[in-house]
Subunit: 353 residues, 2 copies
């Protein structure tokens, strides 16, 4: 069955998603009966590309890999002034909107507007954008539920490493008492380098910047804002909380010295930037992001480099930890893919009725 | 919706399953619409209990916890000679058969016969028994598929820690290149004690036996037979292999000394009994169970005590590791629960059509 998809915000993750559609076209069709039809791509900087019959994915990838732009596709191109993302969402018929614009953790825009418009037009949503989910999850979920639409958000935490799908598909009827984990690869990389190579914080940060793990302005990572957005999402999506940014205590890693790290290691501990959400004895959701000394025996202690991990404390299963990539083109592209597949299954089921 | 369940083989895991049904009755009904109706329990030693209207789970748990037996339930009791497991499977109408007899890794019996009979009677299957799945997966899967029946096997590897449901629900369209992991808690406990407390193999084994982790005859664990059965299951169920026991190289942990462990640790390595399955360059499935020196940086190296873990090497997501309990009453009881819920969803969907 053909599923019509429009993509808003087209960067690395979008490219990863297209590459997966291309590489896995046969298995998606044969095993799942899934045939993607990309009817529109729109990006504020790159412009908009529309083809009601579905873009030739292979051709588009080739053009982009050879350094070309959307406009080199040959037809259906508009500048963003001619057709912007809102025009696309309102004018074009599609089944799923994939929202991949840059995260703005203060306003959630323009993603939140995109998602709301899409719901109004009866489109399912998949997004890797943390802004709208961290800030407005409850409202968006309500809009989706009222319209019997799905909202796939696997990519907002731990990229494609299963979190939301893991919890939803494999945990019931466990109740989750606490979620804690390493949610930011950049800070984990820095802490690992400081420990294993005795680097200073400044040298380790420099190295992370050279490798592209950290931005020129590293504040969002090293001060814990990125981890905070993810903790907020886990709190409100999985733990049923209704927290705001201000409700979460936040502390970054900038005050940790290589001496602190050495001292901790002597006693069998390792510093990790830990995001944590738990339900206290009064059923209140408490969340925080802060550097903690974790004993070597804790699974999170062994998570090194740019890898992410989450430990779920459950009532029936005890502690279960999942560890995997927290970023990357194909890895985050996969997070989009798995949610698109899940929505496809739902549409497929409804069609058959 | 009511789902009729019969239980064959009633020990610790069965008790764990009943306790979960009891503890989670409200959430199962309200959130999932699931109402269990246990119509029969049959155990070679404990006898058989039948109630077409559904046993009173709470009452039964109370009797058993107070040291009573199935026969103290008051009605519907038969000795195993009067009504054995085959009689139950053939005579009683039910939707799901839960097979929890003891694993026999050489014959797969009596579980294999139970499962085949159940399929012939149109019943779905859930099992935590490794024997039939390790030895006869392909045949059983074929029987199930031909009858549009499901076979839940989550409990055969890593107890309730998600493995098969994880792969099926959250990995597609990844292709899995390799699975490797710690599949036996007893040997992992022994190796951990030898390293952290400098114990000899013999003392660590004794300690594991005292704690009930190891049997009086520890061969199945320490010589790698238990891990081998699980590797066989992973090979044939997830990797699409068609291996026999004899195709898997097996080596236990009995030859590892505390000196070996110390020496490895000096160089940043830790001994672990690793089960591994991979697809080689000729698309052949290669599997083994053997002690390996794992670098401290590998997630499997940090898995300590009786905990289990599996690392999946995938083409899109890279390495993803799941870590959690590999045994336990509630933990394995949960593995049954999650598969029963999955089958319930399928039945529910069919009814609605």
């Amino acid at each position: 069955m053909e599923i019509r998809i429009e993509i808003i915000g087209f960067g690395t993750v979008g490219m990863g998603f297209l590459e997966i559609l291309n590489r896995k076209a046969d298995i998606l069709k044969e095993k799942h009966g899934f045939v993607p039809k990309i009817v529109a791509i729109s990006d504020k900087i790159k412009g908009s590309l529309i083809d009601y019959k579905g873009l030739d994915i292979q051709k588009l990838i080739k053009i982009l890999k050879e350094g070309g732009n959307l406009k080199d596709y040959g037809k259906g191109f508009y500048t963003f002034e001619e057709k912007n993302s809102i025009d696309i969402i309102e004018e074009i018929d599609s089944d799923i909107l994939i929202e991949m614009t840059y995260t703005n953790i203060n306003t959630g825009e323009p993603a939140t507007t995109h998602i709301k418009k899409a719901f109004e037009k009866g489109k399912h949503i998949v997004t890797s954008n943390k802004g709208p989910i961290a800030l407005f999850y409850k409202d968006l979920k309500k809009m989706a539920d009222e319209r019997n639409l799905l909202m796939g958000i696997e990519g907002t935490v731990l990229s494609g490493t299963p979190v939301f799908n893991l919890v939803e598909e494999t945990f019931p009827p466990n109740s989750i008492k606490r979620i804690k984990g390493i949610l930011n690869g950049t800070t984990n990389y820095i802490l690992t380098k400081m420990e294993t190579e005795g680097m200073s914080y400044e040298s380790a940060l420099k190295k992370a910047q050279d490798l592209g793990y950290a931005e020129a302005d590293p504040t969002a990572d090293v001060e814990g804002f990125d981890a905070l957005a993810k903790v907020l999402i886990l709190s409100n999506v999985i733990m049923g909380g209704d927290l705001k940014k201000e409700d979460i205590k936040r502390e970054g890693i900038t005050k940790i010295s290589s001496e602190d790290i050495k001292e901790a290691a002597k006693n069998g501990f390792r510093y990790k930037l830990i995001g944590s959400v738990e339900r206290d004895e009064n059923d209140k959701i408490i969340a925080s992001v802060k550097p903690l000394k974790i004993p070597f025996s804790d699974p999170l202690s062994g998570v090194s480099g740019a890898i992410n991990a989450l430990t779920f404390e459950t009532d029936l299963l005890g502690e279960v930890t999942i560890q995997g990539p927290g970023a990357g083109k194909l890895e985050t592209g996969f997070s989009i893919m798995i949610d698109v597949l899940r929505i496809f299954k739902k549409i497929n089921k409804q069609e058959k009725k």
